[in-house]
């Protein structure tokens, strides 16, 4: 084990790092604190000047207004359906594809895998017109399916799961084969449970990405009852919203980010593991 270093130079260097990290933290958190501050102020007060954020009184009236508005809950539910649906869909398809690429022998396996990986390099904007037309033909715009479908084929998810399945020793499959286990049962009962860490990582990323997605819902959801929260909140910004309704906008932003914050708090460990790329055990 590495011995702790209590030398003055080391402690000074640690202190310096701490202050740099603290400063960066403040810079990161300042806009969030600002939005929270705005959300707790009356709109009329903010109209006089946003410096009102720094003084009492504070109020929950903006949050009460959200709860009174029927649209926001609808948008929230739309976001939840899309994010949860997309997360389960991506987990299922990526796991199946990852298992197939990692374990099954079939023609053009390597070529297909490379084609899938190319998906990582294609920006969404490049395919958006074609996708829009396709969904239009199939009359999928303004439906939950239409919002979920495009992101189910996750190149990142397939890549992640393939690598994870590859890392599982083949002897486990072989032991299961000798235990008279069918191929699907090997996948479902033996290997899939071993990929839980990867599933958690992929699930969190997919959920966060789906929840925060703006671009595709903006195109696909044109009716207000099909808006997701991101689109709904943006649509609330009337011409004068940035001066007349700042507090309400702030409350909406905080309300919209709550699920993301909850997901982050509960799955923080998995997110850190995912970001560190398995370097930390």
């Amino acid at each position: 084990m590495k011995a702790l270093n209590y030398s003055p130079e080391h402690l000074t260097s640690n202190r310096r790092l701490f202050w740099i990290a603290a400063a960066l933290g403040v810079i990161m958190m300042a806009p969030v604190a600002w939005i929270i501050g705005l959300s707790l102020k009356d709109n009329a007060e903010l109209l006089k000047g946003t410096e009102a954020v720094f003084s009492f009184p504070y109020t929950l009236v903006n949050y009460a207004n959200i709860l009174e508005s029927s649209s926001v809950f609808g948008w929230f539910m739309n976001s939840m359906i899309v994010a949860v649906g997309q997360t389960f869909g991506v987990l299922l398809l990526s796991s199946l594809a990852g298992y197939a690429f990692a374990r099954l022998e079939f023609p053009f396996r390597k070529t297909l895998f490379i084609i899938v990986l190319f998906g990582l390099a294609v920006p969404e904007q490049a395919v958006i017109i074609a996708r829009h037309q396709m969904f239009n033909w199939f009359d999928l715009h303004n439906t939950h399916i239409g919002l979920i479908l495009p992101n189910l084929s996750s190149a990142f998810g397939v890549f992640l799961m393939t690598q994870f399945f590859r890392a599982i020793p083949k002897e486990i499959d072989e032991a299961a084969m000798l235990d008279n286990t069918s191929t699907f049962r090997i996948f479902w009962k033996v290997l899939l449970p071993l990929t839980l860490p990867a599933q958690a990582t992929l699930g969190i990323f997919t959920f966060l990405q789906a929840w925060n997605d703006y671009w595709w819902p903006l195109i696909s959801a044109t009716k207000s009852d099909m808006y997701t929260l991101t689109i709904g909140i943006a649509s609330s910004q009337t011409n004068f919203a940035q001066s007349e309704g700042l507090g309400f906008l702030g409350a909406q932003a905080i309300f919209a980010s709550l699920p993301v914050v909850i997901v982050y708090i509960f799955f923080q460990r998995h997110i850190v593991t995912a970001v560190s790329g398995g370097a930390v055990k």
Binding site: E174, A175, L178, N180, V190, L194
Partner: protein, 366 residues
């Protein structure tokens, strides 16, 4: 319940590379057979072919009277213990052992009975609710064996199952495996590159080399009558010393060979007329040598390294012509590195290997 295994004309090729070439082997019901050989000789491949984890290019495999090489692994009636144990990490010991039985829809009370019985035999009954991550290497190894036992297979296949254990545990587990074989009386095939495991466990050893079976025999047959120079050098620790032969003289009791400038060794070996003397060598095991006084016949050995093992002392040295020879002295040997001692060789214990590597032994038992 256990059964014999017949391997008939088995060949395995990966594209143009031949991994196993025309292997024939019959293993009796209840026999403990060890496949022994260096890395890459094909021993694990042969085991995996019996298990059904590798396809066969040519030939057939039968267990009992039933041809099984066309069946999937789970239907061959064999159980395998892997080098890495290959336990299911997310299942408890009990679930690991029961999984195979659940797949073939064995009744739950029968599963419980078999798991509990096997756990008792292996003394892992207190570990049944633990997952593999909370077990030591030795305990995992027992669970892997338990998983095989509960299936009541026709044959057990072991793929180097002891190589991940430390030396002390390896020795103990080896003994327990031998006891388990005696208790179950099942057919067992054990793959290893460790000759001590092979010698101590096997009813018969199958020595594999260059994609072929080099020799099949009991441990003592293999040790005392190796069929080739490869077997002689591979089996035995320390390895057999090989001294180049300069000249061979026929005598009434056998041949006397002249070893370079180092001297002559009288043997009780009779060589056939077609003996290929080119590059022939005489092989001597350390325990067939003795340190004698300088007046007696023998070879002068200059000692480089003395290895004291307690009950005996191994003397690593060179003969006058520079050839290496390993000799043995008693545990209380006073010989030191740098000294020159005279070493005699038992005439009945030497082996002569001709230019093709084929062995010729004394007809008299040592």
């Amino acid at each position: 319940m256990s059964a014999s295994i017949s391997i008939k004309n088995i060949t395995k090729r990966y594209d143009s590379v031949t991994v196993l070439d025309d292997i024939n082997l019959h293993i009796e019901d209840g026999e403990f057979v060890v496949f022994l050989g260096p890395s890459g000789c094909g021993k694990s491949t042969l085991l995996r072919m019996i298990a059904g984890l590798e396809s066969i290019t040519e030939g057939s495999i039968e267990i009992g009277d039933k041809r099984i090489d066309t069946l999937p692994p789970g239907q061959r009636g064999v159980a395998m213990v892997f080098q890495s144990y290959a336990l299911y990490p997310h299942m408890t010991t009990r679930q690991n052992m029961a999984f195979g039985l659940e797949n073939v829809k064995v009744a739950q009370d029968e599963i419980d009975r078999r798991v509990n019985d096997a756990a008792k035999i292996l003394e892992i009954d207190h570990l049944l609710d633990r997952k593999p991550g909370r077990l030591s290497g030795g305990q995992r190894q027992r669970v892997a064996i338990g998983r095989a036992i509960v299936k009541e297979p026709k044959a057990f296949l072991f793929d180097e199952p002891l190589s991940n254990l430390d030396a002390a545990l390896r020795g103990r587990t080896r003994l327990e495996l031998a006891q388990l074989h005696q208790r179950l009386g099942s057919t067992m095939i054990f793959v290893t590159h460790d000759q001590v495991e092979a010698m101590t466990l096997a009813d018969r050893i199958v020595i594999m080399h260059n994609q072929k079976i080099e020799q099949i025999g009991t441990p003592m047959e293999i040790y005392q009558h190796p069929v080739s120079r490869f077997v002689a050098e591979f089996v035995g620790s320390p390895p057999m010393s090989m001294l180049p032969i300069n000249n061979i003289q026929q005598t009434a009791n056998g041949v006397t060979v002249e070893v370079s400038r180092a001297g002559s060794i009288a043997t009780a070996i009779t060589l056939p007329p077609e003996f290929n003397a080119k590059d022939a060598v005489i092989g001597i095991r350390a325990e067939d040598t003795a340190v004698v006084s300088s007046e007696e016949d023998g070879l002068d050995l200059t000692i480089k390294v003395v290895e004291r093992l307690g009950d005996r002392t191994l003397l690593y040295g060179t003969l006058i012509d520079g050839t290496d020879l390993i000799a043995e002295d008693s545990g209380r040997s006073k010989v030191k590195a740098g000294e020159t001692v005279r070493v005699s060789i038992s005439p009945h214990a030497a082996h002569i290997f001709d230019g093709d590597g084929l062995a010729h032994h004394s007809q008299m038992e040592v």
